[in-house]
Assembly symmetry: C2
């Protein structure tokens, strides 16, 4: 596995393979890789001739009071993980390689970036859309892989790729969970023993909502109430939002008619976790 | 010469030639082509294996009270002009091919888009940056050509290409002028006979400024005063701005130290014209 830190290196490598008619899969990450990331890498390795993984903790997607500085990092373990998963190139740029002095260009997917997580994480998706545009232009992939756990992110990236006519395919892979149901996240490492125990109510509440829909519930106000009440039984959890929205527009829906997504954001102690489930009738 | 109207056609054509190791030059225009455009096309034909010209009057770069609806169009003459200039593909998309329903993604080069023309034409450069990003992603050029007449536009596009790591070279070509000195612009057709006569003071004032710099003037306040007073001698001209700015940052400069750009925007009747000159010591 090659490790590149400069834009020139990775671009030359990718362009050479693309010109040779090969396909290149790309998995952008912020590192501290878990089995969720590995599932994206496995999909890419399966579907493409070559796979690039990037590790870049992107400062422009963190707010001033968020966890940029303490975001977990373990490049040694990540190198092992990617090598074992069959990655061809690991791209690990420094911040000033990505954001030079007097950097000033931003990509923003308006409206849908303001809902859900966007309502509290101002400019978060602008930072995500910008860095992903840059990484796409640098790595020139055939396909790029994102996890459904960050549902809004996947929708924002899909809309951006369509709107800006980017010449690649976005693949969204299912959520990977711990054995007890907690969605994999690099931030799970922040949880204390007790917080980790209480975090289980997130997945329990999602499964309950899905069950209620199976039993005939269509009214989203009722579903949201039920989910919220389950979450609020845990004294360490504070609910940021529980919403049922259209799978593409992210507009709130009153009734579940075909497919909708139930999305949750909570804080457990000082750790912010998100999760979601597709509700289908 | 091929004429394409869909994104799929032009992308397939360009990608085929790029994969074959050929270079593709690209000249994005809003049509109603004049000798300024032709000079860009000639540079592209000279420097690349193939040349694409796009004609698209981009709605997102016009303000609500601007001249989108009456912007001059002559696709028959433009087809002749491009064919004669050796263009390989003319790309003429409809508006809904470029901006589908629920379009919502925009590229913005912050700060430098707000100076000069950006201070009165709100969101103009956001519209320009967005459509140029799209056209670059669609046409996948090796080099793209812009005129120095739209100086701020050229700087915004260069910054965007650098910031977003777009894999192409931006070429800026010199201003082409009528025999009497008026900078070529599709909007010159709006001018009445009398307005056309008075428009000459724009170039006269720029040449005067350059002359003063040659004679030792370094103070930009004095230069701006002199240029403004020449423009204001013409009763049909109202000055929007006269500024001397850094060639890259577009920040105002007090003293001309090496290179700066003197940029002018005026209204002659209801027609808005811009022009500029590089001042070098």
């Amino acid at each position: 596995m090659k490790i590149f830190t400069t834009i020139d290196e990775i671009r030359a490598w990718s362009n050479e393979h693309k010109r040779g008619g090969k396909t290149v899969g790309f998995v952008p990450t912020m590192g501290y890789l878990h089995r969720g990331h590995v599932s994206l890498i496995e999909a890419s390795v399966e579907e493409n001739n070559y796979t690039i993984v990037s590790i870049f903790v992107n400062p422009t997607q963190f707010g001033p009071n968020e966890d940029l500085d303490k975001y977990p990092r373990d490049i040694t373990k990540d190198t092992e993980t990617t090598k074992n998963a069959g990655v061809d190139v690991l791209f690990v740029p420094l911040v000033n390689e990505i954001y030079p002095k007097d950097y000033s260009t931003f990509v923003n997917v308006e409206e849908i970036s303001d809902y859900l997580c966007g309502s509290t994480r101002l400019n978060h998706f602008k930072g995500v859309a910008t860095v992903v545009t840059k990484l796409f232009n640098i790595c020139n992939p055939t396909k790029a892989y994102f996890g459904q756990k960050d549902y809004q992110q996947a929708v924002v990236i899909q809309r951006m790729v369509r709107d800006l006519n980017m010449d690649l395919t976005v693949v969204v892979c299912p959520i990977v969970r711990e054995a007890d149901g907690l969605a994999m996240s690099s931030r799970n490492v922040y949880l204390s023993h007790e917080e980790r125990a209480q975090s289980l109510s997130i997945n329990i509440s999602l499964k309950m909502a899905s069950k209620l829909v199976d039993l005939g519930e269509r009214n989203t106000v009722n579903l949201i109430e039920k989910v919220t009440s389950i979450l609020e039984e845990s004294d360490l959890i504070s609910v940021e939002y529980v919403e049922v929205v259209d799978v593409k527009s992210l507009h709130r829906v009153d009734k579940i008619e075909s497919r909708a997504v139930l999305a949750i954001a909570v804080k457990i102690g000082s750790t912010r976790l998100i999760d979601n489930i597709i509700l289908e009738v």
